[in-house]
C-alpha cells in the first residue's frame, strides 16, 4: 500500500512538472505575441496620426476654398450668405399629390 502511494505521488509530481513546463512556454509565447501586438498597435497609432494629419492638411479651409473656386462650373458652391437661409413657408406644398388623393376619394 505504502509503495502504491509513493508511486502515485511520483506520477502526480511528474505530471505537474510537465504541466508547469508547458505553461511556462505558453506564457512566454503569449507574452511575445502581446509584445508584437503592442508594437503593431503603436505603429498603427502612428499611421493613424499621420493619416489624421494628412486629412486635416487636405481639408484645410484655404485648399477647400481654392477647390470650390476651381470647380465652380460643376459644383456652383458659394460662401454661405444670409440670403441663403430659407423658411418653412417657402417649401412648396405638394399640390398635385393632394389633388390625386382627392380625385381618388371622389372616384371611390
Amino acid at each position: 500500500m505504502k509503495s502504491f502511494f509513493f508511486l502515485l505521488t511520483a506520477c502526480v509530481v511528474m505530471a505537474l512538472a510537465v504541466w508547469a513546463y508547458r505553461q511556462n512556454y505558453e506564457t512566454q509565447a503569449t507574452l511575445r505575441e502581446v509584445d508584437a501586438l503592442r508594437e503593431d498597435i503603436s505603429q498603427l497609432r502612428e499611421r493613424a496620426g499621420v493619416l489624421r494629419a494628412e486629412w486635416a492638411f487636405l481639408n484645410r479651409p484655404e485648399r477647400l476654398a481654392d477647390l470650390a473656386d476651381m470647380n465652380f462650373d460643376r459644383l456652383g458652391l458659394l460662401p454661405l450668405r444670409p440670403e441663403h437661409f430659407g423658411q418653412i413657408e417657402q417649401i412648396p406644398f405638394p399640390v398635385e399629390q393632394v389633388q390625386d388623393v382627392m380625385l381618388r376619394e371622389e372616384a371611390e
Partner: protein
C-alpha cells in the same frame, strides 16, 4: 511515560522504619518532578524561538534579496497586465471646437554625423549640399574633417530626404527619431497656436516644447503623460476663423492698412470663436523675432492681444452707461456740447460742431467728445476708475496665451480730472482689442462679467453682475442707433441688427505726441442687438480709404465696412438666421 509516584510505598516503609518523616520523600519527589517539567518546557520554548528566528531570517533575507534584485535590474514595462489609464508620451493634439485638428504630432528623423566613422567626407559633404540646398559644402567639409566627433546636420528631414541621405551610403551619417509638431492649416490661427520647438535634445529623442501662444501657455498640460489621448479643445471654430482671416485680409488690402486685428467672442460665455491678427506667419516655420526696430511691426506680434492702442470713441459707451447706471443722466438728458471745452491749457473739440446741446443718446450717436467729457466730469475720477476696472480694462487679459500677461493696459500715472475727461472718449489710455471685446461683452450681455477664454466651455460660467440689465439694454439700443442713424451706417447688415460704436484714434509717436495722418480705426460691435449673441471688434492700423474724392481715415469708412463684411460672412456660419422682418430677400428655388 510512566509517572513515578510521589510517595513510593517501599521508600516510605523504609523511612518509617528508620523514624524519618515520609513527607520529606514526597517533597523531594515533587521538586524533582517540577524540575523535569521545567526542563521540558524550556526545551520546547527554545525550539520555538529557533523556528521563529529561522522564519524571520528567511523573511528578511527574502525582502533583502528582492530589494537588491529590484535595485540591480533594469526597469521593464509590465507586459502581461493591461494598463488601466493610458499613458501617452506625446504632446496632446490641439483641435478646434468641433474636433478638427489645429496642431498634431508627426514622427520624422533628425540627421547627425559622426566624422570618425566617415569613409569619404568629401563625397558626403558634396552630396549633402545637393540634397539640402541651404547647407554649404565647404562648411560641412570643414566640420567633417575637424576635431568634432558629433555634429547635428538637420533637425527635421522628410522621408524623401532621408532616403536620399541613405543613398549616399556613408556609415558616419546617422538618423535619430524625432517627434515634430505639425500645424496642418498653415498660417490659420497662427497667433493663437504660437508654435513649438525642441527643448533638450538627445540622439534618440527630443523634447517638443511650446515657444509662443497657447502652446507655451499650456505647455505643461499638453505634455502631461497622464492626459492620455485627450486633445486640447479650443473655443475657436476653424471655418469661422478662416472666413474672418480671409475677409480681414481683403479689408486690410482695400483699406491700405499696415495691420489688422479681429476678435469674435461669444457674448455670454466669453469663448473666443475667432481671433485674428494680420500680418501673420506660418507656425510650422516660425520666423525669428526682429533684431532691430519695433517688435510691433513683426508678423509675430499679436495685434489682437498684445497691441495696446488708444481705442478712441469706442470707450464713450462705457462713460454713458455708467452715467445711466448711477442715475446721473438718462437717455434723454440734454448735455451742453458748446465747444471747445477748456480745462487748463487743454481744449477738447468735436470732430464737427454739434451745436449747443445734444441728448445723451445723440452724444453717442453723433460721437461728441465734449458731451462725453461732461458726463465723465459728473461721474468723477474715482468712480470712473472703479467702473472701467470692473469691466477688466485695467488688468492684463486672463486669456490662455503666453503673450497676454505682458499686455497690461497703459494708464496715466496719476489720474487727474483731465485724464477722466480724455479717457471718457478713449484717449490717454491704451487697451488691446481683446480687452475691448471683453468689456463690450460684459456691458452688453445683460451686465454679467465675462472672462475671455480660448478653451471650449462645456457649461456656461455666469460672472458677477457689473451693470443692471436695464442699463445694458439701453446701451445696446444707443449702439443700435449708431449703426442705424449714426457714424457706423455701413455696418447695417440686413437681418442681423448690428449695434456698435466706431472709434478713430490718432497714433501716438514713439517719442511723444501724435501723428496727424496716422490713425487706429476700431469698430466694436454686438449682434443681433435685440438678442445679443456675439461681440466683434475689428481694428485697422493706419487705414486709408482712397475710393472717395478725399482720402478718408475715420473708422466709419474703414473699419466699419470690413466688420460688416465679416458679420455678413460669419453670422450664417454661426448658425444665426437673419431676421426676415428686416427686409432680407431670401433665396427662391
Amino acid at each position: 511515560m510512566t509517572r513515578t509516584p510521589l510517595r513510593p510505598l517501599a521508600r516510605i516503609l523504609v523511612a518509617r522504619r528508620a523514624g524519618e518523616n515520609p513527607d520529606a520523600i514526597e517533597r523531594a519527589n515533587l521538586v524533582a518532578r517540577h524540575e523535569a517539567d521545567r526542563d521540558a518546557q524550556r526545551q520546547r520554548a527554545e525550539g520555538r524561538l529557533l523556528v521563529l528566528g529561522v522564519a524571520f531570517l528567511c523573511a528578511f533575507a527574502m525582502v533583502g534579496l528582492r530589494m537588491s534584485a529590484l535595485a540591480a535590474s533594469d526597469p521593464a514595462e509590465p507586459r502581461s497586465a493591461a494598463s488601466g489609464a493610458q499613458i501617452v508620451a506625446t504632446r496632446a493634439d490641439i483641435t478646434d471646437r468641433n474636433g478638427r485638428i489645429l496642431a498634431t504630432n508627426l514622427s520624422t528623423h533628425a540627421l547627425y554625423a559622426q566624422p570618425p566613422h566617415m569613409i569619404d567626407p568629401v563625397k558626403a559633404a558634396r552630396q549633402l549640399a545637393k540634397i539640402f540646398p541651404d547647407l554649404s559644402e565647404e562648411r560641412l567639409l570643414k566640420q567633417f574633417t575637424g576635431e568634432r566627433k558629433f555634429i547635428w546636420i538637420k533637425r527635421r528631414i522628410s522621408p524623401e530626404q532621408q532616403q536620399a541621405v541613405f543613398d549616399i551610403g556613408d556609415p558616419g551619417l546617422l538618423f535619430g527619431p524625432r517627434e515634430m509638431r505639425l500645424y496642418p492649416n498653415g498660417a490659420l490661427a497662427a497667433h493663437v497656436l504660437g508654435g513649438a520647438g525642441f527643448g533638450r535634445e538627445g540622439v534618440n529623442s527630443a523634447e517638443v516644447i511650446g515657444v509662443a501662444g497657447i502652446e507655451r501657455a499650456l505647455d505643461t498640460e499638453m505634455r502631461d503623460p497622464g492626459r492620455g489621448d485627450v486633445p486640447l479643445t479650443l473655443s475657436l471654430d476653424l471655418t469661422i476663423q478662416a472666413a474672418v482671416e480671409r475677409v480681414l485680409e481683403g479689408g486690410m488690402r482695400l483699406m491700405n492698412a499696415r495691420g489688422a486685428a479681429a476678435v469674435l467672442m461669444d457674448i455670454h460665455t466669453g469663448e473666443i470663436v475667432s481671433l485674428a491678427s494680420l500680418p501673420d506667419f506660418d507656425p510650422n516655420d516660425r520666423p525669428r523675432p526682429l533684431t532691430q526696430g519695433d517688435q510691433a511691426e513683426s508678423p509675430l506680434f499679436n495685434r489682437a492681444v498684445q497691441g495696446l492702442y488708444e481705442l478712441g470713441s469706442t470707450f464713450k459707451i462705457f462713460t454713458i452707461a455708467q452715467g445711466i447706471e448711477e442715475r446721473l443722466v438718462s437717455q434723454s438728458t440734454w448735455i451742453d456740447t458748446t465747444g471747445p471745452l477748456r480745462w487748463g491749457t487743454h481744449r477738447i473739440r468735436d470732430f464737427r460742431d454739434h451745436g449747443k446741446a445734444l441728448t445723451v443718446e445723440d452724444v453717442i450717436v453723433k460721437s461728441s467728445n465734449i458731451g462725453t467729457a461732461r458726463v465723465a466730469m459728473m461721474i468723477g475720477p474715482e468712480r470712473q476708475q472703479g467702473f472701467l476696472g470692473s469691466l477688466g480694462l485695467f488688468a492684463p487679459s486672463p486669456v490662455e496665451l503666453i503673450e497676454a500677461p505682458g499686455a497690461k493696459p497703459l494708464l496715466p500715472r496719476n489720474w487727474s480730472e483731465i485724464h477722466t475727461m480724455t479717457i471718457s472718449y478713449g484717449h490717454g489710455m491704451s487697451a488691446s482689442p481683446l480687452h475691448m471685446a471683453t468689456a463690450y461683452a460684459t456691458l452688453l450681455n445683460g451686465g454679467y462679467k465675462v472672462t475671455p477664454t480660448l478653451l471650449r466651455r462645456e457649461t456656461p460660467v455666469i460672472g458677477p453682475q457689473v451693470v443692471s440689465s436695464n442699463t445694458s439694454k439701453q446701451a445696446r439700443d444707443m449702439l443700435r442707433k449708431v449703426v442705424s442713424e449714426g457714424t457706423a451706417s455701413l455696418a447695417d447688415v440686413a437681418g442681423y441688427h448690428v449695434a456698435g460704436k466706431t472709434g478713430t484714434a490718432d497714433k501716438p509717436k514713439a517719442q511723444g505726441g501724435y501723428y496727424d495722418e496716422k490713425v487706429i480705426a476700431t469698430f466694436a460691435s454686438v449682434f443681433p442687438a435685440n438678442d445679443p449673441k456675439y461681440v466683434l471688434v475689428v481694428t485697422l492700423d493706419e487705414p486709408i480709404d482712397t475710393t472717395g474724392e478725399k482720402p478718408r481715415r475715420t473708422a466709419g469708412w474703414t473699419a466699419v465696412p470690413v466688420a460688416a463684411e465679416v458679420i455678413r460672412r460669419v453670422a450664417p456660419l454661426l448658425g444665426l438666421a437673419p431676421d426676415t422682418s428686416a427686409g432680407v430677400t431670401l433665396a427662391r428655388n
